[in-house]
Amino acid sequence: MKSKAHRHPASFRDPSGYIVNEGSSIKRVINPIYFPVYDALCKEDFFTPLFKAKLLIPHLEQERTDESIVLLPEQIQLVTYPYEWSFHQYKQAALLTLKLQNYALDRDFSLKDASAYNVTYHRGRPVFIDTLSFDFYQKDSPWRAYKQFISHFFAPLVLAHYHGAEALKMMQTHIDGIPVALAASMLPKRTKLSPTLYTNIHLMAKMEAKHNDEYKPKSREIKLSKKGLRNLLRSLYDYIDKLELKEQTEWGDYYNKTNYQPEAFNFKKEQIQKWITGGGLRRVLDIGGNDGTFARVLLKDLDLAVVADIDHTAVDLNFAQVQTNKEVNMLPLWFDVAQPSPGIGWSNNERDSILKRLSAWGPQAVLALAVIHHMTLSGNIPFEDSARFFADLTSVLVIEFPKRHDSWVDSLLQRKREFINHFDHYNQEEFEQAYKAYFTIEEKVEIPGSHRVLYLMKTRE
């Protein structure tokens, strides 16, 4: 039997089994209590079609004793959490969960939980990672995970529709999903006229409030036919499928709005390619990577590009391109460098902070293109601090420094008004000085036709 000493800190809620970290691989251990379900699933050949369709993370049964079964799942490079997904990434994860429940019902199984953490992004698509979430379907029983689906998926998506994508970030403070009563209170009154929103959110909130104190779960038998349950799933699916953000998406022409001449743009692309591809670096984290334009130049030679940006629209646009181009090695990440997602849940390590996950993944290079002026002038982050931050993440840093004459820098400085003199330190000399404490400057090139400099730096031994 596997020692529970290496049990992953997020893996304690479900008695069916747990996750272990063994060397460099993550494994799933099944407890005897779940053997009957697991055996039935295998007997029905439940998993194979899901592996083929890439809806469930593939696994191999590695070891079997009376005390445990050990599964070795396909390894995921970087697990991202719901509050790091863009709206459409979130939506696809929700649809995947409903699809799986529908598939399970066809075979007389049912998802026993519908947590958004059961899904992550892998090879360009959402994939269900909690193999032990399937349970026997009990004839005419309602869906036990229904409330969880609403709190983890439906409520955040509907709130994002009415209030903007920022609403999805509420998941960071609600590890068990958005409480239905809170979601109901935040929705406009007119949503009570929608049969889907009224029943799934408003009525549910009312029923929950009414039966909250009643703790006699076995005193009444609640029935719902399979056909009824299917209708419920299908209507949620159709509703979510049509759900869109109300916000305008006008990022498409972002690169036309910046102060780049085509000459400078191409120069930058070629330079990055020379340093990253030429250096044989295959895991790249692009901070402030926008819609992935620059990372995409390198993509064919990478194992994985994680493109992080604070701008939701850019992340969502990046994801749209991942889908259209069927890219398997590009991971769009909604990320604020001045406020990266923290460790949350039990002991603050049930869900690791993004920095911890990024470090564990280990990017071989970090791109920080046209982002240092935002960090320094909008975020007021001193050069020494940003240098240390980058040095903690990687050993190779490609960083672009816009000088004081750059129009963006000038506009950021003008916004400081009477405090503009407090930002005199924003200049190339002080930047280099501070970064030299952590890095050696390997190469430095002026981008023609711009007031920007591109650096290749390596951490000091």
């Binding site: 409903l98 529908n102 349970d135 719902l224």
Partner: protein, 74 residues
């Protein structure tokens, strides 16, 4: 088996209200789906329908993907 269900029961609280409300949600969903289906039939009678897209029953096995140079899990 008995032990198994008891454990599952302790796993998390599905919420009594949420269990009860499902019958009503399902009934409303049934009506919505029925009327949509009806409208679809009316529209298709007049030749106004677009082709049906990916739905809950669609499981797509054929995915043609761009392979990076033999990817490895880390």
């Amino acid at each position: 088996m008995m032990g198994y269900f008891t454990m599952m029961f302790l796993y998390f609280d599905p919420g009594l209200g949420a269990m009860l409300v499902q019958a009503i949600v399902a009934a409303a969903a049934g009506i919505v789906l029925f009327s949509k289906n009806f409208m679809y039939k009316v529209k298709s009678f007049f030749g106004l329908t677009k082709s049906q897209k990916d739905g809950i029953d669609t499981i797509d096995y054929e995915q043609d993907e761009k392979q990076p140079n033999e990817e490895q899990g880390s």
